[in-house]
């Protein structure tokens, strides 16, 4: 009980009931359950080929999920990450042939810019985050469609060498998955070992108290939105590299998958609790569900229904029972 970290879950009283133990670790159980169910249905679910596929699917979702995690830790939400990923995917797909790898830093800057706009509107002008990001969603979705001319465009075959490296297999798994794991690690360090990360959790847990304790709430919240948008932009770039084309609709269902992953990881949607490591497990669960259903021959149209239900159940299980006297809107 001595080693504590922000957002860590070890701070529970001794003699806890098996039930709270179950609830605290439900993210592990759900991941194990999902993987084993699909393994039983189809043993090739855990074959090397399948695992390579699953990790390739996971790679772009991880930065998005970890990014939106920061916003959720503050108690806000960012509904625009799907649209931002779409826009980033389109811009990357259309321009990578011309500017080469410079597209990556350019897209990071794009994410920073978007995050600063969203974050400033929420933190400085104090608009509700869901309305700001709902508007941002419609702006960037329109941008993605306008830029791409409405449909997917493949990257020309002779330019493919520019993007193929991302899909190369390194140590048995795709390179982009290793990159995403690196991003998870970076997020973990931000969460646990930086002033920014700790301030984010403090704001989410009690914004008034954090502000009076001298935490710079405006700057911290803006930074959280910035990390989130950067994560979404990285996700978009990865989709472009992975699919080798610009797809304006790629992000449409990714918000749902990202937020379900974070919810499955036990993040408290009212803020103040969560961790990138647990989000990683959540992403494993979510991608296992979508890939597993796919391999089991389930119509992919079921995805939205399944993730909708997963999201509600996960949020309900993880809601903080101790703050029930608050008015939740």
């Amino acid at each position: 009980m001595q080693n504590t970290k922000t957002g860590d879950f070890r701070n529970v009283p001794e003699g806890e009931s098996w039930r709270s133990f179950l609830y605290r670790n439900i993210y592990i159980f759900s991941a194990v359950l999902v993987v084993s169910v699909f393994y039983i249905i189809n043993p090739s679910f855990l074959s090397l080929y399948s695992i390579q596929n699953i990790t390739r699917e996971m790679a772009p979702l991880l930065p998005m999920a970890c990014g939106i995690g920061f916003v959720l830790y503050t108690g806000c939400i960012d509904l625009s990450i799907g649209a931002v990923a779409s826009a980033a995917c389109v811009i990357t797909g259309l321009n990578v042939a011309d500017v080469g790898h410079w597209i990556i830093p350019m897209m990071l800057a794009f994410g920073v810019l978007i995050g600063i706009v969203n974050g400033s509107l929420v933190s400085r002008i104090k608009l509700p985050s869901f309305i700001v990001t709902l508007c941002a969603q419609s702006v960037y979705r329109a941008a993605a469609i306008v830029l791409s001319g409405g449909g997917s465009q493949n990257i020309a075959l002779k330019q493919r060498y520019l993007v193929n490296w991302m899909s190369a297999i390194v140590f048995g798994l795709p390179l982009m998955f290793w990159i995403s794991l690196g991003i998870v690690l970076a997020c973990l360090i931000i969460e646990r070992n930086t002033k920014l990360g700790k301030s984010i959790f403090a704001i989410g847990a009690n914004e008034k108290a954090a502000r009076l304790a001298g935490v710079d709430t405006v700057r911290t919240k803006t930074m959280a939105f910035m990390l989130c948008a950067v994560g979404a932009a990285i996700g978009g770039v990865m989709y472009a590299y992975k699919l080798k084309s610009s797809v304006p609709a790629i992000g449409d269902d990714k918000f749902m998958m990202a937020i379900s992953s974070v919810a499955l990881g036990g993040t408290l949607f009212s803020g103040g609790r969560g961790s990138a490591l647990r989000t990683l497990v959540g992403v494993i669960t979510v991608i296992s569900i979508s890939s597993g259903m796919n391999m089991a021959g389930v119509d992919p149209l079921w995805n939205n229904v399944v993730f909708g239900i997963v999201l509600i159940v996960a949020v309900a299980i993880n809601s903080e029972k101790g703050i029930r006297d608050l008015i939740i809107k």
């Binding site: 939400i77 309305i131 329109a142 909708g308 999201l311 809601s319």
Partner: protein
């Protein structure tokens, strides 16, 4: 010991004048949308003389049915300070389901009137479930309605499996052709629904409870109002509005697919906020909803007249809503927005 003289003017008087100043500025915010509507109408008419023509006006009113219906239902949700992001999904689900249950191009169903009633009941069920989950599990509405909306849209897609049905029932075809005073029937239905909701909001205990909850939830509870029950009822009403909008959209387009609902909610929230309904609850009403919807319809019409491409329109609306929210915001340095 030193004692200081008291000054003539009291700080309490300053406090009162401060409160009065705030009251005045809130009054301006109530009338600003109406002035904006008049100014816009005059301005657009000057820019393009066709704008104020009978033909264009009936065109505007003809397109108003769906936004007005949705906005009417959402008014209640916003008044209690909640949000309902599920209306698009419910609308798509109801429209798609009806298209598959009446005489259509996909199957041999002919449920007659039940083909409308059953999907609407399904739509209401979504509102009921949303409301109960929100009240019992205490999940914030933007997240729960996002999830239920996604589920509704997902079910709709599963129903028609990427081959949407074309509704061929005679009554749908008739309804789409019927006009009265040059205005389509569906607009009249929307206006009738709007009128009924005016009565509900202004002449029932439920309507008063809605205002009370939005203004001061704790005080409402103390006055003996069953806040949970009213909240659930509001979500059911909103899902009924979404279902009705689904029916109207189907009558207009006759193709039962999820995209009936796509991009419908966002303009409605724009309309409500522009009209002066506060996202924080308690402020707004049916008049504001009507004014906001008209502003939105005129603006949309004008953007079409000056030939702005559809995708740019969405982006422009996104910016407008942000500006409108900023203007209607009650300022307070310490308010916390999530």
């Amino acid at each position: 010991m030193k004692t200081f003289d008291r000054q003539a003017m009291t700080v309490a008087e300053e406090f009162v004048s401060k409160v009065e100043r705030e009251a005045r500025s809130s009054l301006i915010r109530v009338y600003a949308p109406m002035i904006l509507l008049v100014v816009m109408t005059i301005g657009f008419s000057i820019y393009d003389s066709h704008f104020f023509s009978m033909k264009n006006l009936s065109n505007i009113l003809g397109q108003m049915a769906v936004p007005l219906t949705l906005a009417t239902g959402l008014t209640f949700v916003l008044l209690i300070g909640r949000i309902d992001l599920s209306v698009e999904g419910v609308m798509g689900l109801v429209g798609s389901a009806i298209a598959l249950l009446v005489v259509n191009s996909r199957n041999s169903n002919d449920w007659g009137i039940w083909g409308v009633i059953v999907p609407i009941i399904a739509g209401l069920l979504f509102g009921l479930i949303t409301g109960i989950l929100h009240v019992r599990l205490r999940i914030a509405t933007f997240i729960i309605t996002y999830a239920t909306g996604t589920i509704a849209a997902g079910i709709a897609v599963l129903l028609y499996h990427s081959q949407p049905a074309t509704a061929k029932a005679q009554w749908i075809i008739d309804a789409s052709r019927t006009t009265f005073l040059n205005i389509p029937l569906i607009t009249w239905i929307a206006v009738a629904f709007f009128a009924v909701c005016c009565v509900i909001l202004n002449y029932t205990a439920f309507g008063r409870a809605v205002y009370a909850i939005g203004d001061n939830e704790a005080a409402a509870r103390a006055s003996g109002i069953n806040v949970s029950k009213v909240t659930i009822q509001v979500f059911v009403l909103s899902s009924f509005a979404a279902s009705l909008a689904g029916v109207l959209a189907l009558i207009r387009l006759k193709l039962g697919q999820v995209s009936l609902g796509t991009d419908q909610m966002f303009p409605c929230i724009t309309a409500l906020v522009v009209g002066g309904t506060s996202l924080a609850g308690g402020k707004g009403g049916m008049l504001q909803t009507m004014v906001g919807t008209l502003i939105y319809m005129e603006l949309l019409n004008f953007l079409t007249i000056i030939q702005v491409p559809a995708d740019y329109k969405k982006a422009i609306l996104g910016v407008i809503i942000i500006v409108a929210v900023v203007l209607t915001l009650t300022r307070g340095r310490k308010t916390i927005a999530k």
